[in-house]
Amino acid sequence: MNEFHPSRLRERAVRARWVLAVAFLVLVGAFFRTQILQVDRYRLRAENNRLRQVPLQPARGTVFDRNERVIAETVPGFSVALLASSTDSLRQILKRFRSVVPLDSADVEAVVDRYLQARYQPALVLGNATRAQVAMLEEHRAILPGLVIQSEPRRVYPRGTAVAHLVGYVNEVSQAELEGGRYAGARLGSVVGRAGLEQEYDDSLRGAPGMRYIEVDARGRLVREQGAAPPLPSVPGHALHTTIDLDLQLYVDSIWPKGQAGALIAMTPKGEIRALYSTPAYDPNSFIGGISRAELRRLTTDPTLPLLNRALQVRYPPGSPFKLATAAMALKRGLVDLHTHMPQGCGGGMQFGNRYFRCWKKTGHGSLDLLGAVAQSCDVYFYQLGLRIQLANILSDGVTMGFQERTHVDLVNEAAPIWPATTEYYDRRYGPRGWSNSVVLNLSIGQGENTQTLVNMVRFYAALAGDGKAPTPYVVRPDTVQSFDLGLNASQLDGLRRSLIAVVEHGTAARSRLQEFAVAGKTGTAQNADKDRDHGWFIAFAPAEKPEIVVGAIFEFGGHGSEVAPYVVRSIRRYLLGPDSTGGDRPRRITLPGDPTGAPVERSDSAGPAPAPPVPLLPETR
């Protein structure tokens, strides 16, 4: 057979070798492409295959008060998580887990949810495990495959509820928030600030999460916990140095009447907040490592709204403290001076149009000048003053004095006050003929279409206490402190301060006078449209001659201005004189039946200039 002649075979052998060579070159080429050209891609995939990322949470920055006392700090804690290959196996492991550390079924569902959000990361089970739990779990590690226990920084608020509304709280960021990009740099499992300083300064407090790697097999089972790949350390957050005086904050908490909802803000005339207190409050520690459902339900359904920061999230009718704004407008416009009397003396009220507008004091104050009207909080005087300024001017002056804008204090969720900028507001609300000029009467005594936050009112008084500039309040000192001028000259400011001194010296807050120094302040009892009970206000500053601190407080549905005053005054004394001055004393509770502002029934038409400090003190009346 001629095909097997050696020469033919030789020919075919050459061909066969060519075919073989080409075939092997194809294979070598394919391996070259995969192993050399695409090596990075496949190395990465190989790493992704076997390495699971475990986020290392950074230590959150410590929050200090102005004396380096700790408001919030970070201590070592433990977190417990589970790595699973499927939902079913996770549930099985959780079943065994529950026999070691009890979990309720809702907790189990939460773990499964977290697992579904990031299958390749350990799903957090206990964010804040105790040492005992950790020890128990370690003992049962054999039946709990995929158990990842790691030490994790834990937030602690040593002062709990006393600082709750100031500092806020932290908890785990949600999937939706991550997608919404609200917390830049946060990753799944990151702990972020939820309220107060924690939220406002979250970016600087949070730090950057690190990552460590654990090795798993093809079925997602944990093979190696340590040394699978070098970890990426977390970067701790920055410390936050605040202007808060923790001693004052705690003092306010200690003297605050039990069960009284309300808030208190202490700030310097330059806007540095020394204390910011709101009650009822929550314990920010209870949110750490995931708040229990029962606790959260209690907080969110509590009728006293403990999650609400009354210092800046709630608007109240400002009432009498606003009379200083009315007075400031009139002075600024040159309509009156401190000794101007109104045409109509106070006889317990005045007729305007077809309505009779009452003064809080039924028996009337008689004829007062501006100083006396502030001291006695005479409504009739201010009705007339408001009419003299005129509605449009009151509205525009209110805007320039900051009653329509937030203060932009460096705390989240400040509510914007309500203040009509022009009369259009009334046209829209009541119809063009649905209202009359009588609205000016209500506005001029701090009622009507005017609600303010405590922080905004305190800021106004800070301007009165200082140089007439209303500062943007702050808890953490900004590079430049913003402020705007009320437009009052020195003598006008001086006059307003004297009228406020008169309030405490012999006016509506006379019972709260102090021996040591003069306090200037203004009581208020604001009627509330919705409820029967009034809100009590007192805003004061001291020492009156050279104010260092402005303190404002509100008792929600609970009081009359003069009842609030002692707490404010005691806070001022504590701040100015230190702990020794207030040792064991208790607030003097004053109740005066039949008097809505609790004002002493003392007529003060002696309109002379207020006594200059040091104040000659009247004997205390009981």
């Binding site: 057979m1 001629n2 095909e3 097997f4 050696p6 020469s7 033919r8 075979l9 030789r10 075919r12 052998a13 061909r15 066969a16 070798r17 073989l20 060579a21 075939a23 092997f24 194809v26 294979l27 070598v28 394919a30 391996f31 070259f32 492409r33 995969t34 192993q35 050399i36 695409q38 090596v39 891609r41 496949y42 190395r43 995939r45 190989a46 295959n49 076997r50 090795e215 798993v216 097999d217 093809a218 079925r219 089972r221 093979v223 190696r224």
Partner: protein
């Protein structure tokens, strides 16, 4: 004269190299962080099989080509019978758990008749082709050869085992080529398969048919053959879809994921992807012997059998891959030389058939690990763990050694 008893030293050397290399990699395949009992002791069991294989090769070496030529038909018939029997009583096992490919006797897996049938087909084709006076020049003359390979291929396909069916095609084409069939004729023979594959896209298929027309006109086979080829191509185009629908879903998936493994990365594409990831992460010199993380953590499927080459790629890198491929290439070149120098057409064809068998296995198995070939479960000679195939390989090499030994004394020799 010592001359290794007259045994072909290059062949022995390269085979020894491959066997050693294979054992080394197989040992590594068993070293995992995750318990893998099938792979762990595989290298020890493979040693036992190698011992048996050596005996089998020695026995095969004793067969003279004449005895073999005589025995070809009975062996072939036996193989067909066993394949048919497998379809009736066969069971799945190991890497092919879902197909009927194993024969069990008394509860023990005896072997995979498909492996045996491959050798039988090589012998039978050698006998048939060496008996021809002239090399086949028409498609008609190729029919008997096609039947010899086609019947067992169909039986194997019915198991179903696509990989082994491919091996029969490999053997057939290799031996036809060695018998002197014109390459163009082989292309025409293969054309219906190309038509079948291209029929899934209307445009490519029309293109193919046009190309085929040009080819037929240029080469000018006999008229009716030309018509037959064209008709076969057309028919393939039309039956492609019905055949596709008849395929098992896992087969469909394998073909689909061959085109794009990312279609179904968790399931059908999983093997293709994990194998490529393991190999790709090896780089120039690999992750180090025994150190491949993909292997250690069980990401590699079937790492001691079908995908053992991926272990090699991961741990020894491109350098290791090239070394293994060079060894295989040398083996095939040596086999070509033995076939060329064989004393008679039967021996020559048989050796070349053995070459076709081994080459198809190597190309298909190595190719699938880097997605050059679709994934089929056929073993890699010398590397994959497995008794049946190892014994067949040993027999093949015993026969090749014999052919070389015979040629030492005479034969066509070098000119």
């Amino acid at each position: 004269m010592p001359r290794s008893l007259g045994l072909d030293r290059p062949l022995l050397t390269v085979v020894a190299g491959l066997v050693l290399f294979g054992l080394v990699v197989l040992y590594s395949a068993g070293q995992t962080d995750v318990p893998n009992f099938a792979a762990r002791g595989a290298w020890e069991r493979q040693l036992v099989w190698l011992g048996i294989g050596a005996v089998v090769a020695a026995v095969a070496f004793r067969f003279s080509p004449r005895l073999l030529e005589w025995a070809s038909l009975p062996v072939y018939v036996t193989a067909l019978f066993l394949l048919a029997l497998t379809l009736v009583i066969g069971r799945g096992a190991g890497t092919a758990a879902s197909s009927k490919s194993w024969i069990y006797i008394g509860g023990h897996a005896i072997g995979q008749p498909a492996e045996f049938a491959k050798l039988a087909v090589a012998l039978m084709l050698a006998r048939h082709l060496s008996g021809l006076r002239e090399a086949p020049e028409t498609l008609r003359e190729l029919i008997p050869a096609c039947l010899i390979a086609g019947v067992p291929a169909l039986l194997v396909l019915a198991q179903p085992d696509l990989g082994s069916a491919l091996v029969f095609a490999g053997i057939l084409f290799a031996m036809l080529f060695w018998a002197g069939v014109h390459p163009m004729l082989l292309l025409l023979l293969a054309s219906p398969i190309a038509s079948l594959l291209l029929a899934f896209n209307w445009v490519t298929w029309v293109g193919w048919m046009a190309l085929l027309m040009v080819g037929l006109i240029a080469w000018r086979p006999y008229f009716w053959e030309g018509v037959a080829v064209f008709a076969a191509n057309s028919a393939m185009g039309f039956i492609a879809l019905p055949i596709w629908r008849k395929l098992e879903p896992y087969q469909q998936n394998r073909l689909l994921t061959f085109l794009n493994p990312e279609v179904d990365p968790q399931r059908a594409g999983y093997h293709a992807i994990q194998s490529k990831v393991a190999i790709g992460s090896g780089g120039w010199f690999g992750n180090g012997y025994l150190e491949g993380p993909q292997k250690r953590l069980a990401f590699l499927p079937e790492q001691h059998t079908d995908f053992i080459f991926a272990v090699l790629g991961e741990e020894l890198g491109f350098a290791g891959v090239v070394a293994a491929l060079v060894l295989f290439f040398i083996l095939f070149v040596v086999l070509v030389r033995i076939a060329r120098r064989a004393t008679d057409p039967y021996s020559s064809l048989m050796v070349f058939g053995v070459l076709g068998l081994l080459f198809t296995h190597v190309f298909e198995n190595v190719g699938m690990t880097v997605n050059v070939m679709p994934i089929t479960g056929i073993p890699l000679p010398f590397f994959s763990y497995g008794g049946s195939f190892l014994l067949i390989t040993a027999t093949c090499l015993g026969l090749a050694l014999r052919a070389a030994w015979d040629a030492r004394l005479g034969g066509y020799g070098d000119i």
